[in-house]
Amino acid sequence: MDEARILRRGLSPRLWLAGGWLLLALLAAIFAPLIAPQDPLAQDLMLERLPPFWLDGAEPGYWLGTDSLGRDLLSRLIFGGRIAFIVAFAAAASACLIGSALGLIAGYFGGWADRVISRIVDVWMAFPPVLFAILLVAVLGTGLSSVIIAIAVIDWTRFCRVIRAEAMSQARMDYVESARIAGYGRIGIMLREVLPNVLPSVVALLSLEMGIAVIVEAILSFVNLSISTDDPTWGGIIAEGRLSIHQAWWVLVFPLITLIFTVLSFSQFGEGLKARFDPVLR
């Protein structure tokens, strides 16, 4: 679709809001050292449990208050976003690549390829995902790459199932038959004719998966299995906030709000993109 038509149709509020939040969070994460008002690791027991700026007793420069060690909450959230986005992009992209490729093959070729891949997916999905992740990280050792690998290894089935079903229905279309009559090979048809038609679903799922990766990373941080405990992560902050909920509710509430907004935005952004680029829905 040409640029002019994209502009003429305008952006839906869904894409605007979700994309806006994601862009804001992403920029903040990238430029964290420039933007963060304080050092996220600097402890100062004189400043412990400062409330957010609109409450009595707030200090200027500590907009969202401080935690029980006197560390600035806003700065910690901004730096935590770095981990969240790295995990979201890397883990979702790996899961997408593995899952979509296998799903496309299973759905388009059918037969024994489909049977083998579908059985693997069935077995995979019998594992409880969060326990599976904890187990994997425990085996691989903590660290950023272990978290990414764990999420990709667990969540490729989500792509595989959806793309398999889509590829199956596309493979039955008459245009696939026409391509066969015109002398195209099976792999050529799969890549040229079927793949572009399942791409909108891949994009939507990819965005959804990024949100899920953010949640899984937060869960792993919450149980202290993500990365080194020094670096701030959203899950880690939530875990700390839980301990001081009665004295400093903001340490729990702000990271939760950030997490919810981000995950919601990822899923809505994906749906919005799908509606925009699907040639039939369009």
């Binding site: 279309m173 038959e177 026409s178 015109a182 002398g183 572009p196 039939v280």
Partner: protein
């Protein structure tokens, strides 16, 4: 003259052993229109798919031979068969809604076949498609080439598919109920268009339909199918003037007449159907598959 398409006693079975084609034989001479008529499930579409090499995986050919311009498809390896079918035949599909890839523009979608099979340059193929789009009376070929399928109406899409089918100058086109999915008002135009292009290009046509009115308009020869068996074969005028088989007579009688809108629809007579069942069963008893 060597027939454009020759099918010699073709039989095909489903995995459960049920026959879907029962020793079907037919020929299509160059430039001739052969209609295949029959009710749903009679195997008319199956014959078209067999010729084009796109039978469903579950259907197995157990007997018979198909020759395109004297070349037996069964004797070629898979790749040579694909090339032969791709170069000499084309399909006008039943449903123009699913026969075009929704995510590709009309232009590349219709030309890449010319480039690939005939080895034409991109410009030559573009020029050819533009010319064909004019032949099917599309007024703005340039604009249509840049469209996605969903931007065109059903009738327009069927025109595009007809243009694409004729573009490579195939010797034989299989038209699988090309007007069934269209609006009644468009059906007539599309039918006239196919007949006109067929005459101008001298292409042989295997025209699959269940509509005897269409048969009378477009074809020179007819094969009447029932349960995968050719029950009658004749030149079109003869078939309507003196149908030999009771099933053919019943089919002709069952065709609604627009001249008398109050006449009730006539089903095919029970005794005719019973006779057909006997005939088919008799043929099955006499039939021994040549292998398997």
């Amino acid at each position: 003259m060597e027939p454009c398409l020759e099918i010699r006693s073709l039989s095909a079975v489903l995995p459960n052993g049920q026959r879907v084609l029962r020793s079907v034989s037919l020929t299509v001479q160059p430039g001739e229109v052969r209609a295949l008529v029959g009710e749903s499930g009679a195997g008319k579409t199956m014959i078209g798919k067999a010729v084009l090499g796109v039978l469903p995986k579950s259907v197995r050919i157990v007997e018979g031979e198909m020759l395109i311009e004297g070349e037996s498809l069964g004797r070629l390896d898979a790749k040579a068969r694909r090339t032969l079918i791709g170069a000499r035949t084309a399909l006008i599909p039943q449903d123009p809604l699913t026969a075009l890839n929704p995510s590709r523009r009309i232009g590349p979608q219709t030309t890449d076949r010319l480039v690939r099979i005939l080895g034409w340059s991109g410009e030559k193929a573009d020029e050819r498609i533009r010319q064909l789009l004019q032949e099917v009376q599309i007024r703005e070929p340039e604009r249509v080439l840049k469209c996605y399928p969903h931007e065109l109406s059903g009738g327009m899409r069927q025109r595009v598919l007809i243009a694409a089918a004729f573009a490579a100058e195939p010797r034989l086109i299989v038209a699988d109920e090309p007007t069934t999915a269209l609006d009644v008002t468009v059906q007539k135009q599309i039918l006239r268009l196919i007949a006109q292009l067929q005459r101008n290009h001298g292409t042989a046509l295997l025209f699959v339909t269940h509509d005897l009115g269409v048969v009378a308009k477009i074809s020179q020869k007819v094969s009447v199918l029932y349960a995968g068996k050719v029950v009658e074969e004749a030149a079109t005028p003869d078939l309507f003037a003196s149908p030999q088989h009771p099933y053919t007579r019943a089919l002709i009688a069952a065709t609604p007449r627009y001249t008398d809108p109050y006449a009730s629809l006539m089903p095919v007579n029970e005794t005719v159907l019973a006779g057909l069942a006997d005939e088919v069963a008799g043929a099955d008893r006499a039939w021994r598959p040549s292998h398997g």
